[in-house]
């Protein structure tokens, strides 16, 4: 049984929590751009943490259900409709055979997650179904393809629906434009003036932003280092190339690089950042590793308790 793709939309990708353990051969991880939303999607349906979902960027996606099931929608509000009636994210919906589920245009945020009871059935490549288009790996075909018209998103039919929603307090605020940054890597190579500039300025999300990285436009910052010996790049690393415009490296990032880095955006911060559209304005806030650990634990504890 499956959802049939009637309209593929701008960019809809099958994702799980990512392909780990292969960065040493240069293979990036992939995975959901908004991990918080992804984890809640699976929790709402009692799925495994890593069950495959569809990450829908922007919208314009229409699906037709071929069997009964339960779904959960989390992340952005992309103006979703079920049989032409508006539905809101962060809760579950019962799906009947023949239902039409559509995602239109962003109302709040940029990326929505569609989870299905039991997860979408899809063969993993190297232990994961995460789609990385650049590396032609993962997804429905195993070859890194985005969803296209006629694709079948398979699931196990199930008529046992439970109505659930995410507690209001646990829903992230995508209007929050303060992105937390852990100072690390080469931040000492940025003078205190450069750091002050970085943390006190507005940055605009560039239209050249994608799953690999978010490019930002605004106050230039410069490191005292001309370059560094190429080294591994962690999720969220804020790399500053010669033009002084920061780039936040996200799920589809390259594994190694040689630009100085200001610090690292946390997973929670990266989830908020990934919901911003080109033209949106953000600011960075410094936090300690300690604060990042607490923030993360609080969030995971909320999820675990709710489950």
């Amino acid at each position: 049984m499956a959802f049939k793709v009637i309209k593929p939309g701008l960019l809809a990708l099958v994702q799980d929590l990512g392909r780990h353990g292969h960065q040493s051969i240069g293979l990036t991880t992939g995975g959901p751009m908004d991990e918080v939303a992804f984890r809640w999607g699976n929790a709402l349906l009692d799925n495994h943490d890593n069950s495959p979902q569809v990450e829908i960027t922007f919208g314009m996606l229409t699906l037709e259900a071929q069997a009964n099931t339960s779904i959960a929608i989390t992340g952005a509000d992309l103006g979703a409709t079920l049989n032409d009636r508006s539905i809101t994210p962060w809760q579950t919906y019962a799906i009947k055979k023949g239902d039409i589920l559509a995602f239109h245009q962003p109302i709040w945020g940029l990326r929505a997650y569609l989870a299905v009871k039991g997860g979408f059935l899809c063969d993993p490549t190297l232990g994961s179904v995460a789609t990385v288009m650049r590396e032609k790996i993962g997804g429905l075909t195993g070859k890194g393809d985005k969803l296209k018209k006629g694709d079948m998103l398979a699931y196990q039919a199930d008529s046992d629906h439970q109505q659930r929603s995410v507690p209001r307090l646990a829903i992230p605020n995508y209007g929050d434009r303060e992105i937390p940054v852990i100072l690390g890597y080469q931040y000492q190579s940025f003078s205190s003036l450069e750091r002050a500039n970085f943390f006190s300025s507005d940055y605009t999300v560039s239209s050249n932003s994608d799953r690999m990285g978010y490019r930002l436009e605004g106050q230039e910052v410069h490191s005292d280092l001309k370059g560094i010996i190429s080294e591994g790049i962690a999720y969220g690393a804020i790399q500053v190339p010669k033009d002084g415009q920061p780039i936040v490296l996200l799920q589809d990032r390259q594994t190694i690089g040689g630009y100085p880095k200001m610090g690292c955006v946390t997973r929670v911060g990266g989830s908020i950042l990934a919901q911003q559209k080109p033209g949106d304005i953000i600011q960075f806030t410094p936090i300690t590793v300690d604060q990042a650990e607490q923030e993360r634990h609080l969030q995971m504890a909320r999820l675990a308790q709710w489950r």
């Binding site: 051969i25 190297l126 852990i182 962690a234 690292c264 590793v289």
Partner: protein, 234 residues
Amino acid sequence: MSGENLPNIEMVSNQACLLTFSRVISEATSNYIAQVTQYLVKLEGIVDLVPSYTTLLVVFDDDHYDRFAIFKTIRQTIEAIDPNDFSVKDQREVVIPVYYGKEVGPDIEDVAKHCHLSISEIIQRHSETTYRAYAIGFTPGFAFLGNTPDELHVPRKTTPRLKVPVGSVALAENQTAVYPSVTPGGWQIIGRTPVNLIDWGSENLALIAMGDSVRFEPISRDEFLVQGGQLDGF
């Protein structure tokens, strides 16, 4: 180099730390990083390891370790490495056959001119050197191989090619590499190998691993074709 030479450990996020072994690139540092990587990969709760020239990025499961626990585990693991165990016994030598020449290496004439050598001297110098794989990245299976002999140092191309054919063997500054897949690239292309650098069906996935020694072996056009080499792609 042994356990007494502990790397500097720095948190870069709440899920990753960077081990810096040295400020300069050397074979000894690279060997040591390769060895530490082999030990750390066996630990539970280690999600990913990204070794490079002088550093090792360790990505860990933050349900398993907080920053104190990961520091301690890394220190203990490195201290427990027997310095006498440090040898090149695990190091593999990978031989890559290359069909050199203009037909598949459109930059070889420019390289020869830049280096004031003949094309056959370029081929000889490139293939008589044993290289080390210092880092794997940029694209899956792309190995940064150093050090090329001084006479072969050439700058990157001013304008990178939008598409470099699979198997292209190229030079840039003091490094050489093979392109494992079709990507944009700014290195100077001198030949092509028929061998797959990345094989998703194999256990190791990538032909070259960090720390391997790599040699190039000149082959004829006929041998190249017999081994499955493709001539088109530009």
